[in-house]
Amino acid sequence: MPKFVLLWTDAAIWLLVVALAVYVWQVLRKPALAASWRKVFADGPALASAVILVLCLSITLLDSLHYRAALPQAAGSQAGAVAYDTRTRSVLDALLRPLVESRETTYSRPLAYQGFTKESLEVDGRILRVAPRLLHGGAHLTQPDTEWAGDVARRSAAGLALGLLAAALVAALTVMAVARAHRVAWREAALRVWHHETPIPWRVALITVLGVCLVGGVVAALAGRYHVFGTDVTGNDVLYQTLKSIRTAFVIGSLATLATLPLAVVLGIMAGYFKGWVDEAIQYVYTVLSSVPNILLIAACVLMVQVFLDKHPELFETGLERADLKLFLLCAVLGLTGWAGLCRLLRAETLKLRELEYVQAAKAFGVGHGRIMRRHVFPNVAHLMLIVTVLEFSALILYEAVLSYVGVGVDPSMNSFGGMINFARNEMSRDPVVWWPFAAAFTFMVTVVLAANLFADGVRDAFDPRSRAFRPRLSTRKPA
């Protein structure tokens, strides 16, 4: 029986999932909110991005269930005493076990069967400089020079077929759901989806699913026998690293944004509502905060966190727990240093709201300040909170890379896009160039950030009608 380990960020992530579920329940109950969210999903790019984000979120969740495997009973040990592995693994690690275990000695190109660097080997009694066969990548080939292309093509085709099948399954389920919701025959529903006639553009979602399934199918089919994105300097599979990096990006993006909310919301609403000296004091605090260049402030805080961790080794048992605590504290630091912008925005909005009739009426009825702020002001600024939260998400993922480069980001032992880019910097100046870790990090990071950005734009357009005017749209009318 493995021992479950609840890391700090795991706990936060799962709490977040619970909060998200509560929010979804709220949305379903409130027609106005539900209408706004329908508008978000009616936007094609936003819906497609949502599909990608859900996929990344599920990878994150799989990677947020940690455990330490029980070691087999040693001969001399007491019965009943179970020793646990010193390494903490996640469910994702267990699923990707072949990738973790197929470790090479050093760099290898994507899908390679030979090593990247030549070594001196003895062939037929002579010492030759040859690229050695990899330990795992393409190890099943007996005649690699002739079999390799055929094998890769065959596996890819199988992967494509599998992906197609999975996509077809999803499409069938979607059509069935649409048929039920609209109370039409499934043929009619399929036609509506196909012709883009549903209120929510399911066709876009299904095309995205198809794309994801095809790519995922090919990668999955090849990953068992090859290193799809090659291996890094220590021979670790790059695909595995990029998948692990998704969690780091998501944790930073979501937790750090959420960490800004309490301070920003409470102080922002209070400043705008009470005005006077409260306002002055709060304005002073956030002006002080925002007048320090952000990256410097974060660097200063993270340095302090580092010293704190060095002083308190009793807080963590394993290396992973230390890295995780550092990540958690980094999110807290990002939250504590990043609330000024939202606070300013909420203050301005509350200043406007407090003069409105319904707030005045509540005051006249003798409703307390706290209640007015909670019941009347907060719900009316909540959309700003939501918009800023989703916009910040992608900004923070990008920021993580910069912070890791500067040396104040996540722990170097933790997989992250920033760490990968950091390594890539030296790899790109090697000769011949080692481009694949960079390319993998680039592809995944751009996909995640682009999806997050498009989704954020959808949310903003749906919740802030003013921004919709700036959407590029084609019109038949020529500009004057």
């Binding site: 320090v292 010293v307 040396g407 751009v446 590029p472």
Partner: protein, 327 residues
């Protein structure tokens, strides 16, 4: 105007006092000077004597906030807090924590000019590039060009600046060999070293800024005075450049001005990637060496520049828009 500037400056000083308090608390109370000494001396054999020596060399051997044994006002002045604060406000930054590094003030003044050489062209090029791109999109609004342009912006702003740097260095310095990969030299030769970071930095922020400016222009275009201008029979070009551009300058200055502190601070990432020994590279080195004195000083210098640049922005408003009166 003068009245306003004096008031702003006084408030700025108040803010700086706050920054100073916050950084002091962060650097000295969260971790005591003893911790810093231990970290800096490093190694296993850290004796109390070594720590005391390290502290007295750097003037950290006093109480933090309150020196009880002393008499009168010395209770307050004979403390680390007082001495550090006074020295910061008089711009005497003292020596760095680590052994090899010298006086921080000298380094800052020397490196500041290098940073400006990099950052000022970046700042100007960035505004020109983003504003022209945004104007182009707005001129062709409701056409395919606008759509493609906005999509391009979104894609570009989803790419980390680090990718631009790495690909740019690889392409222009390694493959095409147009410029050196990194480094810095004095004299006119410096252009060869700076051209790539300047271009890449402008490119990296093009997506974000052009999209923002495009929205600002579109907001202006919807206003009545634009319709009036068109009704007068002015050509679209004149409307755009003489009316819309001038009015959109205010929000543009606000947003571009937010970037101004980095003009002096130097872009941390660009400086260290391209081996340009400016202020940004200094900070990164200090972080690597865990030299708290430098980081602390740079936080102070950074906020000083930030406050100064915001006062500059306010002055710029009056220059761009005569309607704005600072009072």
């Amino acid at each position: 105007m003068l009245n306003y500037l004096v008031r702003r400056t006084l408030y700025g000083i108040l803010i700086l006092i706050g920054v100073n308090l916050a950084t002091f608390f962060l650097f000295f109370t969260v971790n005591t000077p003893d911790d810093m000494a231990r970290l800096n001396i490093g190694g296993k054999r850290v004796t109390q004597e070594l720590i005391e020596k390290w502290k007295s060399e750097r003037g950290y051997d006093k109480p933090l906030y309150w020196n009880a044994p002393k008499a009168g006002s010395e209770k307050l002045t004979e403390t680390i807090f007082w001495e550090r604060s006074v020295s910061l406000f008089t711009l005497q930054f003292g020596r760095a924590d680590s052994e090899s590094a010298g006086d921080i003030g000298d380094e800052v003044t020397r490196r500041m000019w290098i940073s400006i050489q990099l950052a000022l062209p970046i700042f100007i090029l960035q505004i020109i590039a983003s504003v022209s791109f945004a104007l182009l999109l707005v001129m062709f609004r409701h056409t395919r060009l606008d759509l493609v342009g906005v999509v391009l912006c979104v894609v570009m702003l989803s790419i980390s600046a680090l990718f631009y740097i790495i690909v740019g260095q690889y392409l222009f310095a390694r493959v095409l060999k147009l410029v050196p990969i990194s480094g810095y030299s004095g004299g006119l030769d410096v252009v060869r070293f700076l051209v790539l970071p300047v271009a890449l930095s402008a490119l990296a922020r093009l997506g974000t800024e052009a999209r923002l400016y495009r929205a600002m222009f579109l907001e202006e275009i919807g206003k009545d005075y634009v319709r009036t201008a068109r009704a007068k029979g002015l050509s679209e070009t004149v409307v755009m450049f003489r009316h819309v551009l001038r009015n959109a300058m205010i929000p543009i200055i606000t947003s571009a001005g937010g970037y101004l502190p980095y003009v002096f601070m130097g872009s941390l990432v660009f400086e260290s990637f391209f081996g340009i020994p400016g202020l940004g590279a200094y900070v990164i080195e200090a972080i690597g060496k865990q030299d708290f004195a430098i980081v602390r000083t740079m936080v102070f210098v950074g906020s000083l520049l930030y406050i100064a640049s915001y006062i500059l922005i306010d002055i710029a408003y009056t220059w761009v828009d005569p309607r704005v009166r600072l009072a």
